[in-house]
Subunit: 515 residues, 2 copies
């Protein structure tokens, strides 16, 4: 975290009374939101099962107070004033970013009537329950009516939020401000191409990667300690963080950069799950911990977007955390956690095992080569749903056909197919941010290797601080001041460009599979 | 918890529009307060050290929102209407209790100006820091100015809150509604007498209790598991609770009866600390979990007062949890947790050890005979401070003289004397509720033994549910509907009467020390 010289950090023009009043209002909203995030963290880590209903009431009350704050007339008036060109000219980038984000939330809160927001929450809760049961019982028909309901609700939300080209853009913009599906189509085309091609070349090569060294009997308590050790090695600050267990790993913040926590979920028989989740969540957490302390208690502290966030979790997890130089520098952590198991496993074999490519049905188990194909399938289907181009009943067939086409395999059950992810019980527009993250991440990684010609050597020596400090200084410190595309351009010198990912992926897997 | 028939539970007259509006407002306040309680729980159990400052900001923001809610004009208008005799006649006891508590909070919030409340928070924080250092360095002089500041602030608060007889009453009333120092003087006199007399008789008897069986090497993880087992045996519902570790054991609720959690702090070398803390906190938790679900999300869900709360923690800890019948029924929990250590320790020796009487300097380590003397010393001193009868500089001397007089021992340092407790860094009026709890508890225990002639036999068989169900039905379910004195009368048939405690203590320790 940048605790050094706040004079060098992005900052607000507090001397302007309107900025200062906006800040007061944003502090209040950020503080209340942080308490909500804490309640969600508790829900996922410690809350007893019998408290679910009352916690729901508490969260609804908090949402109500936040809605009241976000729709205040005084806020509207203040934003109108601050958006005047004459005022803007004298403002800092941080001011402008704050005003932009406040406007986004004000607009969203006023454009979506409270009844719609409440209906959305109700439908999401019921749809989630239906999805959970449908997945357990492999019963898509039971989930279908809820999916149809979600489609029509999301279309209504898109209409109310407004859009230029397609309804889908309005939903996407919630998670990735400024992004549109036409931009995505351009960005994703080469990704789809390189992934499919590489997969075919790997399968044709006849070379295999053996990942049996990652399997065994790994005590979960020791995996928790190992996760902590790996996170410390990355530079994660435990004095401003915490590590817990939850069924699905996640990262959250109760006031970046000062309180950023994460979870992992060790699998007793497969060490990769906890180690790579720790590095992935660690990437998210480093991003939040790197946010300039001058931005604290505002909506622009933390990450710029879901895609920007995923760029950091994936950069640390894949570009760094699945590389041989990184593990040459850190392998003693693995060996001292499980000395017997890894005594005769060389670091090269360990790293190779982390990079096994295998088309699979399940997104969250996918390797770097196939991962984006899973995302592209989902993106194509959800865009069609939102744009009204598909009947719910035909979705499982479309899903299976796309898996056959892109990955060469087809799920035998909908549970392992269209029902595998929770996302569609809530809404649409989120999935593409995973692949955007991979693209931004590869582009930033490319930049890092240009800046540090001795990048690999330093990783091999166990160094990581050089890399973290650079990312903090050039990216993390700025929080959500800039829109994600602009941020990528500021960090790397060019707008998002998929060629960096294409080149990274090709070089890496040509090497590993000796193509 | 009373999950049975809500028709038999205390309830609100929702058909009255004014009651229903009051309930809506109370739900909102209770939900926000619960999120604050969750944040405090987190602060004491998981929060990283570097998050202290931002958490302080978040709590201050929440207090601001709550203050805004408590001082709303609409609430004032509503209370005025609901307090009309003509309206009251048609209301339930639950309605009346809710109106009374809402009025208390409204009055407090409007009588204390925001600047005073903020100053109080600042002085408390600074005074706490000063106290912590003063205790570490045995340096009362450094704490003295903060204590003086606290005295004058608390006097101002008392003046603003208002009182009939003495300023001290206004402060006391914050924790024990309806209680006054003249009532306390009457209640405490026989307690002081019996404690001092019994202590002298025990010391003169030459009989000793050997508690070496409680000392040893007890793995903390196993103590946590043992605490859980003991709490389950008492009837604590883990599906609506949770057990964590914190430096000082405490119980808290995020919506009684549905989410009530507690902490313990195992001492590796002294098993009594965690076991008796679990039972003590368990008593608090059972009281909260027993609150009628019909009262949920209101300020009268939970306990009636600090004294009423302490009556239950002490009833379970001392009257039940330090009795031979209880341990005859539960001793297998101790033995199976630490089989080797307790293989040759009989349950009689174990229970006797839990009842060792020894005048000590430290309140929280005190036995049942001397405990109230520690409280009475503090009560006498803080009453004198608030009523302006004593100079801060002379307090350590007065403290030591009172210890010499009441307990026959004198601290060699202020750290083990006047600086031992945190309370006076925050304010005054809390201490007497500990002894009130002991009195109420003994009186309720007496009633229980009347109701259940086979009380001991059932405990010896390992039963506890009969006792918990009775307490739930006759006391816990009512939350804070009644003022504490009225509640004691409803439960036991008479107003608080110290003779029950006097008789309980005398009989018990005459037996143990063979007097």
């Amino acid at each position: 975290m940048l605790q050094q010289d706040t004079a060098l950090m992005p900052n607000f023009t507090r001397s302007d009374g309107r900025v200062s009043e906006l800040l007061d209002r944003m502090h209040e909203i950020a503080d209340l939101s942080a308490l909500g995030a804490l309640a969600e963290w508790d829900q996922n880590t410690e809350m007893p099962e019998g408290a679910g209903e009352i916690r729901g009431d508490q969260m609804a009350t908090l949402q109500g107070v936040l809605h009241e704050r976000w729709t205040s007339e005084r806020l509207s008036h203040l934003l109108d004033q601050l958006e005047h060109a004459s005022v803007q000219a004298n403002l800092s980038d941080a001011d402008k970013g704050l005003i932009r984000e406040a406007r986004r939330s004000y607009d969203r809160s006023t454009k979506l009537p409270r009844t719609l927001v409440e209906e959305l929450a109700r439908v999401q809760a019921a749809s989630f329950e239906s999805w959970r049961k449908a997945r357990t019982n492999n019963d898509f028909a039971n989930f279908a009516p809820w999916l149809a309901r979600t489609i029509s609700l999301q279309r209504e939300i898109a209409d109310r939020l407004g859009f230029v080209e397609t309804r889908y853009d309005a939903l996407l913009d919630q998670f990735e401000p400024g992004m549109t599906s036409s931009k995505i189509d351009t960005l994703f085309a080469p990704v789809r191409e390189v992934s499919a091609t590489l997969l075919k070349r790997i399968q044709a090569s006849g070379h295999a990667v053996d990942d049996s060294c990652l399997q065994g009997d790994f005590a979960q308590e020791k995996q928790m300690a190992l996760s902590e050790a790996v996170l410390r090695a990355m530079g994660y600050e435990l004095s401003h963080g915490g590590i817990a267990r939850s069924p699905h790993p996640f990262t959250t913040s109760f006031g970046s950069p000062f309180d950023v926590r994460l979870t992992v979920n060790p699998d007793q028989h497969f060490i990769q799950a906890s180690v790579m989740a720790a590095i992935h969540e660690g990437g998210h957490a480093l991003y939040e911990q790197g946010s300039a302390p001058t931005l604290v208690r505002t909506p622009i502290a933390g990450g710029a977007s879901m895609g920007a966030h995923e760029s950091q979790s994936r950069l640390w997890e894949n570009n760094v955390g699945r590389s041989l130089p990184f593990w040459r520098g850190q392998y003693q952590l693995i060996r001292s956690a499980f000395p017997e198991h890894f005594a005769n496993v060389e670091v090269e074999a360990f790293t190779r095992a982390l990079n096994k490519v295998q088309p699979s049905l399940i997104r969250i188990e996918a390797d770097e080569v196939t991962y984006n194909l899973h995302i592209i399938i989902r993106y194509e289907l959800e865009r069609a749903m939102v744009n009204g181009e598909v009947a719910v009943e035909s979705l499982p067939g479309m899903w299976n056909a796309k898996y056959r086409e892109y990955l060469g395999i087809e799920p035998e059950t909908d549970s392992k197919g269209i029902l595998q992810d929770v996302h569609w019980s809530g809404g649409f527009g989120y999935f593409p941010t995973y692949t955007l993250g991979n693209l931004y991440g590869a582009q930033i990684f490319h930049k890092l290797r240009e800046v540090f010609p001795d990048f690999d050597t330093r990783l091999e020596k166990g160094e990581t601080a050089f890399l973290l400090r650079w990312l903090e200084e050039h990216m993390y410190a700025y929080g959500a001041i800039y829109l994600p595309e602009d941020l990528v351009k500021r960090v790397t010198g060019e707008l998002p460009n998929p060629e960096h990912f294409v080149r990274y992926l090709t070089n890496k897997f040509e090497g590993i599979y000796n193509l």
